[in-house]
Symmetry: C2
Subunit: 127 residues, 2 copies
Amino acid sequence: MSFPKPTDSELAILQELWQRGPSTVKVIHEALSSSRDIGYTTALKLMQIMHEKGLLTREREGKTHIYQPAVSQEKIQKQLLNKLVDTAFQGSAMKLIMQALGNEKTSIDELTQIKSFIEKLEGGQNE
Amino acid sequence: MSFPKPTDSELAILQELWQRGPSTVKVIHEALSSSRDIGYTTALKLMQIMHEKGLLTREREGKTHIYQPAVSQEKIQKQLLNKLVDTAFQGSAMKLIMQALGNEKTSIDELTQIKSFIEKLEGGQNE
DNA sequence: AAGTTTATACGAATCTTTTCGTAATTGCAA
DNA sequence: TTGCAATTACGAAAAGATTCGTATAAACTT
């Protein structure tokens, strides 16, 4: 069960859909327009392709289509994360985590959350 | 000072160079060949392009060129990591870290290391 | 039902990345 | 110096992703 890895444009569309829930091309196009210059038919075509690839499902509602992600945000995040770990961090999730922590965008509060998450994991089964 | 983001193939070449140190096309080609099917001139061309882009430096040594990364592994890791945080994790490094931890590839020992790294950070200045 | 609006479908152009064939160059050996 | 093997340079094809113009279809208005 592996999905084709979404391209950058596709990921942007998935993000909108995950955040907004089921949406028409029109809505997604407007959302994308605010951050970059993109034609309506371009957005449409992308979503049609994503539908063909199985990244989106859709349903006709009168004249328009309502699109929805066919994959969970978590699954895609996992996929992209694993790929990055493999290609850029020699397969070591720890290296990646350390880097991310070092990028000093994490607040004290978040650090505490992460720490307690780790403690929960340590209590668990990770051998 | 921002480098062009390396493509997947380019990243694979950078990895080899970071690991092996300065190398010829021949050596890199052989290394890549072990994990996938790639022609010699393909590898050569990629490295030439990377040189043009400023990702690699090179030096003539007799008839051959010796290539070297022009950017540090850490810089590229940071670049790719930040991009992933932005495009897939809504800008939240914490979300990414949690996911990475959850992917259960991290050993108890590594968890401990991460935890003590966090403690060091907490002692520091992160506001 | 004809015209208008809004949406989809289709096809092709463009751009980027990857690929490799062929030609030119270099260094060495005979 | 001529010939051979190794290497680079060049150009263009192939594959993938993005873009959009134009045509078609659907629903609403009058």
